[in-house]
Amino acid sequence: MSKQVKSSRLKALATSLKDALSETWRQGAGKASLILMAVLVAVAIYAAVAMPPNFRDAVWDNLEVQGENPSLAPPEWVKYLGVPHAPHVIASLDKSIDRLDLENQIYEFNYTITYSLEHEVFPQGIIAKGYELLVVAVGNYTIGPRCRIFISRPDGVTGLYTDTSVTLAAGTESAWSRSSIIVKLSEPEAIKSDLLYKIIIRYANESGLLLLKDRTYYIKFNTTNGTFLEPVGNVASMLFEDFTLKPSKYIFGKVSNINASYEFMRGQWSLQRVAASVEPLVGSYNITISCRYTALPQATLSRIQDLKPFNSIKLIVKGSVYGFMGTDANGRDLALGLLYGFPLAIAIGFFVAGLTSLIGLIAGVVSGYYGGIVDEIIQRIVDVMGNIPLLPILIIIAMALMVTYAEAPLVVLMGILTVLIVFGWGGLAIIVRAMTLSIKEEPYIEAAKALGSSNRRIIFKHIIPQVIPYVVASLVFSVPGAILTEAGLSVLGIRHGYPTWGAILSEAYRYMRVAMEALWWVLPPGILISITSLTFVLLGMALEKLVEPRLRTA
């Protein structure tokens, strides 16, 4: 084929494409669908470029990342709707107050932020992470700082929240180095936190007695050192247990009562549960991270005195609201998942629809043009496929794949898509065959044959160009089918592991009882699935009118 012919063909293709586009644009539905399509594709391309390639492992299913976010938090903008909230604060700390006390061999850094709570809502917790830790060689050990978080509350209570020391067994050659360990300060152990003692002391009534609500039962409470006296050691230990379970409730709260529930068992009263009734305490909190090196040799101290203990520290106060789209029950940022869903949905839809249409086109043309035994075989296969209950077969195969290839999400996803393709081409093949049969009988085909055209030439030159518009319309119509089926399978619990919109919905469905208030979790993925499908349905309807003028209404 000469170059000129090729370019003229391309030109013809471009013209017909342009015609089709402008014809589609002229219809209301067509215009809407083209605009929607442009938006979808633009977002999908942006997401595909902007998201890290290993998004699933590095962000979406990364427990570290999930732990930094509040769980089941509505989007941040709900505050403009007047919803009471605790703000979510991420602070990168770089300004510290340093204290170098060479005489006592102390080298200390203090970082402070102020967190203000305006509404009576509990924040979900405090977490701090230090990166690139400065470690110092002392004898056979490599020593890091002792890191503590102090909290000073609006009611005047100040106390130690959590306490961690870093010591590595192996020594290093040099006097100091940066370690790759991430120092994490999060949930306090009850015994290491004196904040609770202080909070309870603050709220114990003046006589030093706390009233237990369920039964008229007094416990003796020592207000000077905050310990519970006999015979209620159990009350104290269970209270601390409650504290470690829900630390943020106590840290940001004022205690009004301590409730203990007793049960009469085996002839005596036994303690079942202790929990304080706590209400949120409004005001500003000072949160201080203190990192302190002690007992360092003087020579080393003077060498490291210009160095910070961490290259960067991140302090997060987990609020009750998060981001633009909120979070799910695990604390995943839904905005990221939804964004990542765009390229996945478009890819899944086009992959399945494209291959299905291609197979349908080939099978239909071959079946119609050549006839005979080939036709018979293809028609019988289509017949059988038309009667197969597709969804059950799909579920069986998908479950088999899920069990066998749990570690290879791509295999599971591709397996599901392959089944959709294998069982999906029958309908189009029948239509294409019928069209081929009628085109075959046209006089110009006979003429072409008489002129000695090969079968190949007739198929590619005369039949396929006429069939293509229908195939394209059917392709567009079948895009949403694949997206909807994939989402439906996810809801049934078939997990390939990629965060598609369906997978996000399936999580919401799994947590239905928890998620019943979480509209921000259930609505957006479904709306996105619907909008994407609607785009293709509208485009399909517009194209259908182009290829089937009888449907034109106006």
Binding site: V384, N387, P389, V491, L519, G526, S533, L534, L538, L551
Partner: protein, 359 residues
């Protein structure tokens, strides 16, 4: 008439062959992939573990315990057919299914969907569960069809009007909407937030079972429990029906004989009735009958979202629990119903419309 019989016989043969192939294929997928074996093995392992713990309490000698456990395992593998190669299991499965000998199930989860204590005959399981799916899905389809048949003929003269455009937009919108997501949304809104409808739909089991004891009170309860699922399915499917029937009628309205009727000055109503609906009736009837036949299979995902104890939920439990005999039985029953419906339709066509007899 001889031609008709031979054509029908050929069609019947083809459809029967399709059913057999589908049964074969299902068995092959279940057994050849090793899926059913893997699930069964997990079940046997859990039984064996429980058995071992049980006998360890009374027997101290470890070798005796091991021997007994091994014996028990072999027994169980014999019962579940795990000691045979997959093709033997698959062929037994195919043979039993085709002969309608579906066997017995002793699965707790399946029995709880049925609402009776195991063991249960699989044929009984299906017979008990079908009415529930009919109450939800088939009733919803019938409502959709009735509404669509009432509205669509009124639209054919007003193509392009606001009402017509609204119907098309509604159809496009619901076509893009997953039914099960609508179900989740409606449960969230109407059951949890507004508390108008129930949240746990399993209670329908008792009301259907006791229908004969206190028909009136139980019927009211059934209506209350079925309302939201039916509303969901109707909202989701109505658009498709309206659009489909409208399209069939539009095809006819452009035919020459309708123009002639119009030119003769016949009233619109008469034209609709005699010249449009009557001509468009066969294809519409086809889609109605096939849809009703298909509805008996239930909606696997939507039923699961409602936890509706119907065919869809049963199918899903059977698949996820590797209960091959029930999967086979359900596939067989659906396919059979569907194929018989198709055959009746084709027979009607061939008998009623001489043009089709040639093929």
């Amino acid at each position: 008439m001889a031609g008709v019989t031979s054509v029908l016989a050929r069609r019947a043969l083809m459809l029967a062959a399709a059913v057999v192939i589908i049964v074969l294929l299902t068995a092959l997928i279940l057994e050849a992939t090793g899926y059913s074996a893997r699930v069964l093995k997990a079940i046997v392992d859990s039984y064996v573990k429980a058995y071992r713990q049980d006998i360890s309490r009374t027997i101290r000698n470890e070798t005796v315990v091991n021997e007994l456990t091994e014996k028990y395992r072999i027994e169980l593998e014999e019962i579940y057919g795990l000691n045979k190669p997959w093709y033997v299991r698959a062929s037994t499965l195919v043979k039993n299914t085709l002969l309608m000998d579906f066997g017995i199930t002793d699965r707790e989860d399946i029995a709880s969907v049925v609402g009776r204590a195991p063991p249960l005959k699989v044929s009984d399981v299906i017979a008990i569960v079908i009415p529930r799916t009919v109450i939800m899905i088939t009733v919803a389809e019938i409502i959709c069809i009735a509404i669509a048949l009432a509205i669509a003929p009124r639209l054919v003269y007003k193509i392009g009007s606001i009402a017509d455009r609204a119907v098309v937009a509604y159809a496009a919108f619901t076509n893009a909407l997953p039914v099960w997501w609508l179900a989740m949304l409606f449960i969230l809104m109407f059951s949890y937030q507004l508390r108008v409808f129930p949240t746990d739909y399993r209670y329908i089991i008792a009301f259907i079972r006791d229908l004969s004891i206190d028909p009136f009170a139980n019927f009211i309860q059934i209506v209350y429990y079925a309302a939201l699922p039916i509303i969901t399915v109707v909202v989701a499917l109505l658009g498709g029906w309206l659009y489909g029937i409208r399209a069939q009628l539009i095809r006819v309205i452009r035919e020459d004989f309708v123009f002639v009727a119009k030119a003769k000055g016949l009233p619109d109503q008469m034209i609709t009735k005699r010249y449009i609906v009557r001509v468009a009736a066969p294809p519409i009837m086809t889609s109605i009958i096939l849809a009703l036949a298909g509805s008996i299979g239930g909606y696997i995902i939507t039923e699961s979202v409602f936890e509706w104890p119907g065919m869809g939920t049963l199918y899903y439990l059977a698949i996820s629990g590797g209960e091959a005999s029930i999967v086979m039985a359900l596939t067989y029953v659906f396919t059979l119903i569907y194929v018989i419906a198709r055959f009746i339709l084709e027979a009607l066509y061939i008998v009623l419309d001489p043009r089709i007899r040639i093929t």
